[in-house]
Symmetry: C2
Subunit: 311 residues, 2 copies
């Protein structure tokens, strides 16, 4: 059974790691949000791609959700000391990634090729692909700070400003690599990882060619909301600002046009009925994945469910 997994940062990386542990390399393609990519100090930085890649390489820092385990911060300390911008932390080993990515981009290589290059460098089995090769910066229009890049909103302002609008700049000019489209076309199912639907998954779905491909697939999502809170990040807060109760219901509705099933947490089982009214089935289980065994457990649950549903 061939799976395409859609992933943002930390939550997406966790489930992608679980799936990669139980699926052969030809049966899983991970497609990652690049809307939060940005240029900092002239370097092209892809936070979600890096989180997924580092996680699958077994070198992610689980404490921070970004960067490389046991990394040092020699450059960053000097930047701070020099009075340079320091709102985005840059680990030394992490910088080696940003430097090489920037070098290869300037040499004319595509982000897809570069991402696959790093996959080879770090001996990752499964393909990790950016959703597209063009820069499509997610902008967050806020009440207090005006228009911010996603990293400014998320990191510099700790997602404190009230969100008025989220914009996927230039998304109509985005072109997915042929490997992305091929993975979709060959997939038996699409798994939407527990990433933020508004800022991590929506950009992927907005890339021309993706949404229509979702409609022809069995689509399963894992809720990033547990017990009224986002497992990580600003989702529950943004929902609150939009006057929406943070629950798996709205996550399911977000994907309603193509969603077949949502995995939600046991503590949210009471929302199941409302979800079913939209014609979407649900499965209640433990969806928290603090460690690899739990990631594998959830991945196996998902695959077992899909095997029954699809065949």
């Amino acid at each position: 059974m061939k799976i395409v997994a859609l992933a943002g940062g930390v939550g997406g990386a966790k489930l992608a790691q679980g799936l990669s542990a139980v699926l052969p390399e030809d049966d899983l393609t991970i497609i990652v949000n690049t809307g939060d990519d940005f240029t900092f100090f002239g370097l092209y930085i892809c936070p979600d791609l890096d989180t997924v890649t580092y996680t699958l390489a077994g070198m992610a820092n689980p404490a921070t959700g970004w960067g490389i385990l046991n990394d040092s911060f020699k450059v960053y300390e000097k930047l701070k000391k020099n009075g340079s911008p320091d709102w985005f932390m840059l680990g030394d080993q992490d910088l080696a990634t940003h430097l090489e990515r920037t070098r290869l981009l300037q040499a004319g290589r595509s982000l897809t090729e570069i991402t696959l290059h790093f996959r080879d460098v770090w001996n990752i089995k499964h393909p990790i692909l950016p959703m597209c090769d063009q820069p499509v910066p997610t902008l967050v229009d806020t009440r207090d700070q005006g228009m911010l890049s996603f990293q400014e909103y998320f990191v510099k302002y700790h997602f404190e400003p009230v969100v008025e609008k989220i914009i996927f700049k230039d998304i109509d000019q985005a072109r997915p690599d042929k490997r992305v489209l091929q993975a979709f076309d060959q997939a038996d199912a699409v798994v939407i990882c527990p990433s933020n639907p508004l800022v991590s998954i929506a950009p992927i779905l907005s890339v021309p060619g993706i949404r229509e491909r979702m409609a022809s697939k069995y689509v399963l999502a894992v809720s990033p909301i547990v017990g009224g809170k986002a497992i990580k990040g600003p989702l529950a807060k943004i929902y609150g600002e939009m006057g929406i109760e943070p629950s798996p219901v709205h996550v399911a509705l977000h994907y309603a046009e193509f969603l077949n099933c949502i995995f939600l947490d046991n503590q949210d089982v009471s929302y199941g009925k409302e979800i079913e009214q939209s014609g979407i089935i649900f499965q209640a289980t433990d969806i928290m994945m603090p460690d690899l065994p739990n990631r594998i457990r959830l991945a196996e649950d998902i695959l077992e469910f899909l095997r029954k549903e699809i065949i």
Copy 2:
């Protein structure tokens, strides 16, 4: 007495440091070659400017002639491990300079402004100015490896290829900052530091507006050749490839159109007569400057000489 000093990398930095130790901040402007600037991993790197700046900030690494004393190499080690290009060593603290310079350039600041910014960051008293704000890459056409950027020739190929031609690309489009021209116009004398005439000083002199200003000034050069050898770098080797005996004579002839005096080493005093035949006077002294006291000593000798000559 107001001095403009022209400097390349290590030798230039040494004398500039000596001069800065004995001249008030309004009386010395250091103008630095930028022909060896290059882009590496998307970062804009200015080796000569950095060497001069780090030296005057008291943070240069005297053992290497580049980089920052006691710097670490965490990023560089990871680049190597990842299989990225590793022919140009990048210290972690040094990287903080390249990152901030690149950021400020992309934000529209000129290289002159950025260089003066670093001067402030590191509490350097005297102005250090790039010879111009435009990239004017020095290219070295070689018999064995074809056309190389200067850093490729110098660092990647350890100046082993035989030099056929040295090209100052786009130099006719170079524009010195008004502070460069002002420093020249106010100067009582120009001191050409013991840097390579062919690849460090010639680019500065080739910037439109500089050479004609030299003609109206008292110009004193310090020989970078001692005992038939370049104190550092490829000068003697390139002279050899050109069929020229490496001696202070040819250095003086290189500057003949405007040179008033050359300081050469005591061991080269025998060349004095030949130099005088070109109407250039010479002073023999100890021109080696391994440490700060020697740099100050040579700077004081030069200033004492100039005071007698000019007044």
